[in-house]
């Protein structure tokens, strides 16, 4: 039960993330998603992006004969990490310190922001260079620095687009996926004073413009302070690993005088050798490449090569609270590959912004509410575990085998328990539809009637999809407002009844039509 800390101090409990973190939306998922769904550009871009990456990923994963064994090893390593987190962090601190780095500990977003800000101020930096990092996004570091009069310059092309447009990222891997080339050209023209207005919207030209714009910053390394995250922090050697594509990471990790890496405590991996697992799992799952273009490994500081000062900020900010739930803690195993986003039918339609958190998609749906905690039934975080159809595709692709559907169900159960404790809270449309669905699911007879009648209904509707059918199905009101409901084939029950009848009648043809799958999602995954 209560943990006794042998320091003679009052018992310390795990804590949720700071409210200032960008982890909790301003409204629930259904409301946010409804608005995002009206954005046709976003939906088109997202569908293109997710299907493209999905196919690439599946291709390079199929090449790896021992993929499932690598996943098993990756998963076990991550369990080893969560089971031994305190010891591994101690070891990491020792190794980093021995290699000439300085380790800071940040309990929450504010503390991390203060550490980075004062390090930057002490070094007289007015500008700092940033490598894309979800941890710094989560703690809203750029805003904190801005309050102190320090400008953070995002150096990833996508992050730069997002920053120049005043947006928030919508995808872990392709943060600017909600912007198309014409929009990006406009954004660049508006914010890069030296840019020749004759520039076209050819991606190569746009990337070239970003190269010229940022190169000046890299070569002068303003303030000579860079802030990065890390994909892995190796406990036994103190090595940090940064995986990237564009080279802005190498620039930031190499040219400035001072490097500050803000890293979630769950990023620790036990040994250098374990990188042989993760450096196979991550690139293929993430960008669908055999290996990403650039990976940098650095350990503390090295005289004559790279930053002469290195600070590692180890961040809790709600992670201890995730760790506290034995059935939910494996959400901390995530290596941020984004494969689960790309296969998720809900994500493909609603987009990243609907989740209202730095961590979108299936992983966000289990990670964000655990990090923020859920205060009451009105808490937007409470809706996230429902942002899924529980199809299971996320689990199949996850390189570290996080059982996302199981955790979603677990969090829903917790939510229901919470609501039971507070009477009269089932009133929003979401609640009603969920209640309708649960009533439906809990009664085989009601379910049977609903599914059979859907089949009959489909006969009178032309086309593959029924289309928007507001309230035609009274069972789950609102569900079809933003979703093209696939026209149901005969339900398994109708099919079976039919089949049995035919069999009884000795029908030689034997087979009735198998239940049709009306959906347009394909999972081509297992390798």
């Amino acid at each position: 039960m209560s943990a006794t800390v042998n320091l003679g101090m009052p018992a310390v409990r795990p804590q949720h993330a700071s409210p200032s973190s960008t982890l909790r939306g301003t409204r629930g998922f259904p409301d946010a998603a409804r608005e995002e769904l009206t954005d046709e550009v976003l939906r088109g871009n997202l569908r293109h992006a997710t299907t493209t990456i999905q196919a690439k990923r599946a291709g390079v994963v199929r090449e790896v004969r021992d993929w499932q064994k690598l996943r098993n090893a990756g998963s076990a390593l991550k369990w080893q990490v969560t089971d031994h987190l305190p010891e591994l962090l101690e070891q990491l601190e020792e190794s980093v310190t021995a290699a000439g780095g300085t380790v800071h500990w940040a309990r929450d977003a504010e503390e991390a922001g203060e550490i980075v800000t004062s390090l930057a101020i002490e070094r007289g930096a007015r500008e700092i260079l940033k490598v894309k990092s979800m941890a710094t996004q989560e703690i809203a570091l750029n805003e904190t620095l801005e309050h102190a009069g320090i400008r953070a310059i995002e150096t990833d092309l996508a992050e730069l687009i997002v920053q120049l447009a005043g947006d928030t990222p919508s995808h872990i891997l392709v943060p600017a996926i909600h912007r198309n080339r014409a929009q990006i050209r406009e954004i660049f023209l508006a914010s890069m004073p030296d840019l020749d207005p004759s520039i076209t919207d050819d991606p190569a030209e746009l990337a070239g413009a970003a190269r010229r714009y940022l190169r000046e910053k890299f070569l002068d390394s303003p303030g000579s302070v860079a802030v990065s995250g890390a994909n892995f922090a190796v406990a036994d050697t103190g090595t940090l690993v940064v995986v990237e594509s564009e080279g802005n990471g190498r620039m930031c990790l190499t040219l400035p005088r001072t490097l500050i890496s803000v890293v979630g405590i769950e990023k620790v991996v036990p040994s250098f050798q374990d990188l042989e697992v993760f450096l196979q799992l991550l690139p293929r799952s993430s960008t669908g490449e055999r290996m990403n273009p650039y990976t940098t490994l650095f350990t503390g500081v090295r005289e004559g090569d790279g930053p002469q000062e290195f600070h590692l900020v180890l961040l809790d900010n709600g992670r201890s609270a995730v760790l506290e739930d034995p059935d939910g803690r494996s959400a901390l195993h995530c290596i941020r590959c984004s494969a689960c986003l790309n296969v998720c039918p809900v994500y493909a339609r609603a987009g990243g912004h609907a989740y209202g958190s730095t961590y979108p998609g299936p992983i966000g749906a289990i990670l964000s509410p655990q990090m923020t905690g859920v205060q009451d039934a009105e808490d937007p975080s409470a809706t996230l575990p429902y942002a899924s159809s529980l199809c299971g595709a996320c689990y199949d692709v996850c390189p570290v085998k996080i059982d996302i559907p199981a955790i979603l169900v677990h969090l829903r159960a917790k939510d229901v328990d919470r609501r039971r404790g507070t009477r009269g809270e089932f009133h929003g449309a979401w609640d009603v539809s969920m209640k309708g669905a649960s009533r439906l699911m809990s009664s085989p007879r009601a379910y049977d009637i609903a599914v059979r009648s859907a089949g009959t209904l489909a006969k009178v509707m032309p086309g593959k999809n029924i289309g928007t059918l507001p309230h035609a199905l009274p069972i789950v009101p609102g569900w079809t407002d933003h979703r093209d409901l696939p026209k149901p084939g005969p339900s398994f029950r109708s099919w079976w009844d039919q089949h049995e009848k035919q069999r009884a009648a000795g029908s030689a043809s034997g087979a009735g039509a198998a239940p049709a799958t009306g959906g347009d999602e394909q999972q081509e995954d297992q390798a």
Binding site: W79, R107, A158, A207, D220, S245, R290, T296, D379
Partner: protein
């Protein structure tokens, strides 16, 4: 942001941030995950490791072919050569460059046929100075065939990191004995000196951030040339292979991953 402001996480007076985080984590782990805790020894290592049969026994010539093909897949330029032809191959890879910088450990012979001015790095040129140099020529530590990856260690052969980052063309010489098949063998070799800065390069820098269209050459060198040194061809066709592997073992017919 929610209906009512969420509570700030508690900080315990008198505890350092580290003490407090450690106490939180220990309290969290008080609830066991399940009956068993995963120890290092419990991690199943039945995937193909550095000592995997395929890694150990695949014909090195075949491994080099895979490397060349995978690097070309990334749209880097591959020049295959032999030790005696190396200076000519390097000169070809550097064709058109007016100035070249090399780390101090690059053998003089490598640049014997290079037309450009060759400068040996003494560690002093800053980013601005490096930016006006056309090309950098280095060796490497290891090359991983399956992923087409060049592994650079910060040393006299591969150079300090800024050297291989700022100039727009990077020419890397890969010797036959540096080529391994898979990632685990590559990591094993790196593990002999883990504290060194390491850079893994798999093709020129790229972005797919704009409508997922791949654009090559964002911030790193936009041109990557790999000069792969195969052993000299055998003068007599039936003499044993030079590198210790028995010539009578062409049986490794495994397909690559």
């Amino acid at each position: 942001m929610s209906t009512r402001p969420a509570a700030r996480p508690v900080r315990t007076p008198g505890l350092s941030a580290k003490e407090e985080i450690m106490a939180r984590l220990r309290a969290a782990l008080d609830v066991p995950r399940r009956d068993a805790v995963t120890e290092a020894a419990d991690v199943p290592r039945d995937y193909q490791r550095a000592d995997d049969r395929q890694e150990v026994s695949t014909d090195p010539a075949k491994v080099r072919d895979v490397l060349a093909q995978r690097i070309a897949d990334y749209r880097a330029t591959v020049h295959r050569t032999t030790p005696s032809q190396l200076p000519a191959a390097i000169a070809e890879a550097l064709d058109g460059a007016g100035s070249v910088i090399v780390p101090p450990g690059v053998p003089e012979g490598w640049t014997a046929q290079v037309a450009a001015t060759v400068q040996v790095d003494d560690g002093t040129p800053g980013p601005r100075e490096l930016d006006v140099i056309d090309a950098v020529l280095t060796g490497c530590h290891t090359a991983i065939a399956v992923t087409g990856t060049l592994v650079l260690r910060s040393d006299d052969l591969s150079g300090r990191r800024a050297l291989t980052l700022v100039p727009d063309r990077h020419v890397v010489v890969v010797q036959a004995d540096q080529v391994v098949l898979g990632v685990p063998k590559g990591i094993e070799r790196m593990g002999e000196d883990p504290a060194s800065p390491w850079t893994l390069i798999s093709g020129p820098s790229a972005t797919s951030d704009i409508e997922l269209e791949r654009v090559e050459g964002v911030h790193g060198p936009r041109q990557l040339h790999v000069v792969l040194v195969d052993p000299e061809p055998e003068p007599e066709p039936d003499s044993p292979a030079p590198d210790g592997t028995s010539a009578s073992a062409p049986t490794s017919q495994e397909t690559y991953r």
